[in-house]
């Protein structure tokens, strides 16, 4: 059991203390986030809080730099072996936190562990056919088909030590009960976990033997999960913590005016959109229509699209902190379609005309499902959209619910229209096509989040071509074509890219990355 220490100093006292301590003194950095990482096992849960946190402790073969580009980490270089796969040349002289040396065998072991039945990250290795150790510092990942994106897709594949893991009986991640790796770590990363009290406090310290040079000057970092955003804000303002992510959008203007604090604003990778029940024969929640589904008609979908004033949503609900989206990925993603970056204009008159053309001049009611604790201001966005829909005769009956009920509801097709946010794990335009646009196919594990069963034969045909095409320009042309199809058919209504809003004391220098990972080694306490 851990004893919780916290200094209860006022802001002024804290500032005094910081100045007095000087640069060479210990720099304890305290930060807070909304969720505690569920586990310290890098292969057990594929969630942003876990992967983000563990990126400070474990490392992959490659890592993302401040601009999200892939750069060498445990692998010094990599190249394609013809069209069969990829060869990684590993870094020599790297040690794990417990002092044991890092070799190709650890990579092989980590691959076996991460692709096992019990792993939650095994989908990353679906394209992999086999892995072969060439020598201690060379390893080949052989893929079933040419895979230009493979190194990008394994940036969060973290390497564990074979001996440490097996001798502590944690050779496989555990689904049911904890094992040694659930609360203990042994990575090669810049920080080691020195104590962990799940849900309460986790402490880290820089790793002396790290192979790279540490940009950060912090000597100890303490993470506390604070679920209530208002409490987190108070903790920051009172000086008890140095950094928090995220803060509520509505509090940004005031926060900016305060002396001594900085708001870090950026654009996340997540695109917010509305989806439709494309295949249902009738609306499930309508009061006035039975036996028909107007959303099968592209004109009705377009009416819904043009009824939404995205600029007003961004301006009012998102407080001007979001960017409009024209497609399923944001402009920061690889494969973003510049050619298809135009949104349909907001035009309620055109929308009403489209409704009339489709035979719904008098409007109809339908069910709109929305989460209320998943995305930034999600319920408010749905309410505002519902009122915009109502103006063209689309009478949305809005149901907002917590996300734990939301996904089951969508999986059971209990919606006529729904809100969805999508952040591509690979930071590539192929990702949403695979999960959201391809016809659902559980055998091939495709279209698994395509709740509305959107289906287009050409899109299905293009996806495998995009996945295997090695030439950048040809690939981009294919993505452009797919994007155009999705736009023409209004498969979804992409609205905006969600912002990232962090706040810290102004003595803190940090780097905000698009994936919302908080990277400790880029933090400097002045």
């Amino acid at each position: 059991m851990t004893v919780i220490f916290r200094r209860s100093l006022s802001v002024g006292f804290a500032a005094l203390w910081l100045t007095a301590s000087g640069v060479t003194q210990a720099e304890t950095f305290k930060w807070a986030g909304t969720t505690d990482p569920q586990t310290m096992d890098p292969h057990a849960t594929n969630s942003a809080p876990v992967l983000g946190f563990l990126n400070n402790v474990y490392e992959g073969l490659v890592r993302r730099n401040k601009e999200m580009k892939i750069e060498p980490a445990l692998a010094e270089s990599w190249e394609q072996i013809g069209s069969d796969g990829w060869r990684f040349n590993l870094r020599e002289g790297v040690t794990f936190h417990d002092g044991s040396a890092f070799t190709a065998d650890d990579v092989l072991f980590s691959y076996e562990r991460a692709s096992s039945e019990d792993s939650d990250v095994r989908s990353w290795f679906a394209p992999v056919d086999s892995v072969a150790v060439v020598d201690d510092y060379t390893i080949d990942f052989l893929t079933k088909a040419p895979n230009p994106l493979f190194p990008d897709s394994i940036a969060n594949f973290m390497i564990m030590d074979r001996d440490w893991t097996t001798s502590n009986e944690a050779a496989r991640p555990s689904r049911e009960a904890e094992n040694f790796a659930t609360r203990n770590t042994n990575g090669t990363g810049a920080f080691t976990v020195t104590s962990r009290d799940p849900g309460v406090k986790t402490t880290l310290q820089p790793f002396d033997g790290w192979w790279d040079t540490l940009e950060s000057n912090i000597t100890e970092a303490v993470f506390t999960p604070i679920g209530e955003s208002a409490t987190g804000m108070a903790a920051l303002l009172s000086g008890e913590i140095d950094f928090i992510s995220p803060i509520p959008l509505q509090d940004v203007p005031r926060m900016k005016e305060r002396d001594g604090f900085t708001v870090h604003e950026g654009v996340e990778a997540r695109v917010l959109m509305f989806g439709f029940a494309h295949q249902a024969d009738s609306l499930k929640f309508s009061d006035d229509l039975t036996g028909e589904n107007p959303f099968k008609d592209v004109r009705v979908r377009q009416a819904a699209y043009q009824a939404i004033n995205v600029d007003a949503l961004i301006d009012k609900v998102m407080r001007g902190s979001a960017q409009p989206a024209s497609q399923l990925v944001s402009s920061a993603m690889k494969g973003y379609s510049e050619a298809k970056s135009e949104r349909l204009a907001y035009d309620p008159d055109a929308a009403m005309q489209l409704m009339k053309d489709a035979g719904y001049e008098d409007g109809f009611s339908f069910g709109l499902q929305c989460p209320n604790d998943r995305y930034i201001n999600d319920e408010a966005i749905c309410k505002a959209a519902a009122s915009m829909f109502a103006k063209v005769g689309l009478n949305a009956k809005l149901t907002a619910m917590p996300v734990r009920n939301y996904w089951p509801e969508l999986r059971e097709d209990n919606f006529d229209m729904y809100l969805l946010g999508w952040s591509p794990g690979t930071f590539d335009a192929e990702h949403p096509i695979r999960f959201l646009a391809h016809t659902p196919n559980s055998e091939k594990k495709l279209g698994s989040w395509n709740f509305g069963d959107y289906s287009n034969a050409r899109v299905d045909e293009l996806l495998p071509m995009i996945q295997t095409e090695l030439d950048e320009d040809t690939r981009q042309a294919m993505i452009d074509e797919t994007t155009e199809l999705l736009q023409q058919e209004i498969a979804y209504i992409p609205m905006y890219v969600q912002p990232l809003i962090w706040a810290s004391k102004d003595t803190i220098e940090l780097t905000q990355r698009t994936d919302n990972f908080f990277i400790l080694r880029w933090v400097t306490v002045n």
């Binding site: 208002a230 804000m233 509520p248 509505q250 509090d251 203007p253 005031r254 499930k284 929640f285 009061d287 004033n309 007003a312 949503l313 009012k316 609900v317 929305c370 209320n372 319920e379 408010a380 749905c382 309410k383 505002a384 519902a386 009122s387 915009m388 109502a390 103006k391 009478n395 949305a396 009956k397 809005l398 149901t399 907002a400 619910m401 917590p402 009920n405 209990n414």
Partner: protein
């Protein structure tokens, strides 16, 4: 025998006491204004906040009319959806009062009946009812509401569920509040039961239920009224919590509690009116109802004179 109940109906006496009590008069005026405003909201309110087609997001977060960037159309400003806050409060109060009153009526009828019987009969009935109360207390209101809602969803066709949400909410909130009544009434009944007046009724061969409801009940109205009036606020706020769980009123028809819940998101953003006005409405209402409750208890209590 039915003296106690006769006193309830002696309006002239009640009126006499009432007009001698200025605090009660003020409270009554406020309560009538609040409740009247809520009941008559469709006629009083400038706009219909539930008509979502009339809302314009560009009108959102406008401060009250008297402040610099205010708008004469919205006297106390607008909320995050561009609703006229005054209209939203009137409509929301109506919804909240409906749910709140129904729920505490349900809770008090159930709780008082159970408490009286448990305290009067004691023995096995008491043991069973109090263990059921234990079970109820162990389940947080959130879970009770999810259970009731889940059963309602299971039993009713999808379209029907929305229309019956008031019933679902009433039952859910009522179930989580009845135990307070039951346990307090039971404890006081224990004491009353052994007093002379009850024993003389028993000797006269009076039916136990008649003793309970016509003799014991008027003597224990004090604590019941306290819980009744205090729990009204709790019921209104509970309803708001439940709507966050997706169990409450439809998202586009905010209740007073929901307005407060949404307002709390704007506590520190400078848009103070979104949280202050709905909260003030609830506070005013609760205080006036409590003052009236105290007055009624004193006026109606047979022993108070």
């Amino acid at each position: 025998m039915i003296n106690a109940w006769l006193r309830w109906s002696r309006e002239n006496e009640l009126a006499y006491l009432f007009f001698r009590n200025p605090v009660a008069i003020v409270a009554a005026i406020i309560a009538i204004l609040c409740i009247g405003g809520a009941v008559l909201s469709p006629w009083l309110a400038a706009t219909d906040p539930y008509d979502i087609a009339s809302l314009d997001i560009m009108d959102s977060l406008i401060p009250p009319a008297w402040s610099e960037s205010g708008d004469a159309r919205f006297f106390i400003g607008t909320d995050d959806q561009g609703r006229d806050l005054l209209s939203a409060i009137l409509y929301g109060t109506r919804l909240s009062l409906l749910v709140g009153f129904l729920a505490i009526t349900f809770a008090s009828v159930l709780g008082v009946t159970v408490g009286l019987m448990a305290g009067y009969f004691g023995g096995r009935f008491d043991a069973i009812m109090m263990r059921i109360a234990d079970i109820q207390l162990s389940l947080p209101a959130i879970l009770t509401a999810l259970l009731v809602d889940g059963i309602a969803k299971g039993l009713l066709p999808r379209g029907q569920h929305d229309n019956l949400m008031i019933v679902v909410l009433t039952v859910a909130i009522g179930l989580s509040l009845w135990v307070n009544f039951a346990r307090t009434v039971r404890a006081t009944t224990f004491v009353e039961r052994n007093k002379e007046y009850v024993q003389s009724c028993e000797i006269m061969g009076m039916h136990p239920f008649r003793i309970m409801f016509t003799h014991i009940l008027p003597n224990i109205m004090g604590p019941i009224l306290v819980i009744l009036t205090v729990d009204l606020a709790v019921a209104v706020l509970l309803e708001a919590t439940l709507s966050f769980l997706g169990v409450g009123v439809p998202a586009n028809q905010p209740s007073l509690g929901t307005l407060i819940r949404i307002g709390t998101e704007y506590m520190f953003s400078g848009e103070w009116w979104i949280v202050i006005f709905p909260s003030a409405m609830l506070i005013l209402m609760i205080i006036s109802i409590n003052v009236l409750g105290d007055f009624l208890r004193d006026a109606l209590n047979p022993r108070m004179r």
